[in-house]
Amino acid sequence: MKRGWLPVAVVLLMMNAAVAARAEPLAVEGTLFFDRGHYWIELIIKDSGEGNMSAAEWKRNDFEIVDLDNGQSFPPSRVEVAGGDEKESVLLLASGKLGGKKCYRVIIHPASSRKTVIEPICDPFYFSPAPGPSRGREFFRKFIAPAFSTSGKYYRWSRFCYQYDFDAEKSASELNLEPEFDIFGFQFKPRFNQDNTNYLRPPAERREVRRRNLEASLSKSFWGGELRYELETGYRHERSQCDEGSAAEVVYSQSALVEGRVRFDNLFDPVNRHGLGVFKGVDLGLGYAWHDSSTADIWASSAFRGGTLMLKGRFTWTFLGWMQFSYALESYRPRLEGQGFKHFHQLVFRLLLRDVLEKPSRRSYHPDLEVTFQRGRRLPLFEEETRATLGFTFDLYPW
C-alpha cells in the first residue's frame, strides 16, 4: 500500500509543476459598451505564448464581475465568443446586472492561469465633463458673470434689438435673417437685414439713415495642406433712406463681388497649445467688387459704374476661456471715390456667459454679452460710418 501512493504523489507533483510554470497573469484588455439593447463587457485576451485556453473553453464561472460603486459581485450570465485569431481571443460577458454610467472590475480565475484582475472598465458616460480648472474662470464665474444674468428673458433672433443714444448718435439693428443652404456642395446664403444707422458726414453733419438690404452669396471651400481656401461670389441690393428734417432722400445701391479667402488657423497650433489664449478664424481675403448707386431703383440688370479692389483680414482671440476679442479690417480702393484706400474697422468684444450662467427656458445656453464697434467706409456707398452696439446675443460665432 505504501508503494501504491508513491506514483500518485509523483503524478500530482508533476501536474502542480506544470501549472506553476503556466501560472502567469493573462494580458487582458476590457471595455464596457452598449449594443443590441444591452450592456456588455468585452475582454480581449492576448496569447501569452504559453498555451492559453481556447475561446471555447472559457466558462461563466471563470469570471467574476464587481460593481465598483457598490461592491456587488456576480458572475456573467453568459460568455460569448465574439471573434479573434491565433494572437487573441475576444469574449463578451453578458449580464442583466450590467448598466450604464458605471465602472466594473473583472476577475478572471481559470484553472490554468493565475488570477487576473482588470479594472476599471468604465462606461464613457460615467465621467461628467467639466471645463478644466482655472483660477481665471473661477474668478469670472463667481464675481463677474452673475452681474449679467438674464434669467427670465430670451430672444427669438440671433441678433438682438438695441438702441443706444450717445451724443445724438443712434444705431439700431432691428432684424437680421440669414439662413444657409447646401446645394451640390456649394453654400448658398440669402440674407435680409434692416437697421437704422447714423452716418457722420463732413462738416459734422449727422443724418439718420434707414437701410434695407437683400443679399445672396454662393461659396465653395476646399483644403490644401494646412490651409483652408474659400471662393465666394455674391450680390447685394440696398435701399437707404436718409431723413433730414422734413425731406427724405432715397438712395439705391448694388454691388457684386468675387473674393478668395485663406484661413491660417492650423499655423497657430504651437501658439494655442495650452488653451489660455487661443486664436481662431484667422482669415485673409482678396477680391474685387463692382458697385453702383442711384436715386432710382437699380438691380442686377443695370450696369455697374464703379469697381474696387478689396483686401480683408480678421481674427478672433479667446482669453482664459471667458473673454473673446474679434477684429476685422476691410480695405477698398474704389475708382469712383478718388485716390487712396478706404478702411472699415470692426471690433467685437464678448463676455462668454453661455456655460456659466443658468440658461433661459427653452434655450441650450445663456446668451453672451457683446459689445461691437464699427468705424470707417465700406461698400456700397463709402460713407463714413460710426456704430456701437451693446447687448446680448445667442449667436455662437462673432461674425
Binding site: T31, P124, P129, A130
Partner: protein
C-alpha cells in the same frame, strides 16, 4: 464583408479619427487635443472646444464631413450626436452606437 472589429478596437479608432479630423480643421495640434480634450480628468466639454477653436459653422460642417468619410456614417447623423455639454469620448461612443465602422471602416488619413 468587413473584417471583425472588437468594440475595444473601434473605440481606439474613433478616438484616433476624432483627434485627427478635429485638429486638422482647427488651430490645435493632435497631441494637445488629446491632452486637453480626451485624457483630461474630468474631461473637458465639447462646448469649451467650440468656444475657443471653432471659427464658424462651416468648420463644424467640414469636420462632420471628414468623420463621415472615415466612419461610414452620414454627416447629419454625426452632427445629431454632437452635444456641447458632453465630452469627445462620449461623442465617439454615440457614433459607435450609431454604427460607425459597421463594415470595418477605413483606416486611412483623417
Amino acid at each position: 464583408m468587413g473584417r471583425f472589429l472588437s468594440w475595444t478596437r473601434k473605440r481606439k479608432m474613433i478616438r484616433r479619427d476624432i483627434t485627427r479630423v478635429f485638429s486638422r480643421h482647427t488651430g490645435i495640434g493632435e497631441t494637445d487635443f488629446t491632452r486637453l480634450y480626451l485624457e483630461s480628468s474630468p474631461p473637458c466639454p465639447i462646448g469649451d472646444f467650440n468656444l475657443q477653436y471653432v471659427a464658424g459653422p462651416d468648420t463644424l460642417e467640414e469636420i462632420f464631413g471628414g468623420l463621415a468619410e472615415l466612419t461610414g456614417l452620414p454627416p447629419d447623423k454625426i452632427k445629431s450626436h454632437y452635444h456641447r455639454e458632453e465630452s469627445f469620448a462620449q461623442f465617439g461612443e454615440h457614433l459607435l452606437r450609431a454604427g460607425a465602422y459597421g463594415d470595418g471602416g477605413r483606416e486611412g488619413k483623417g
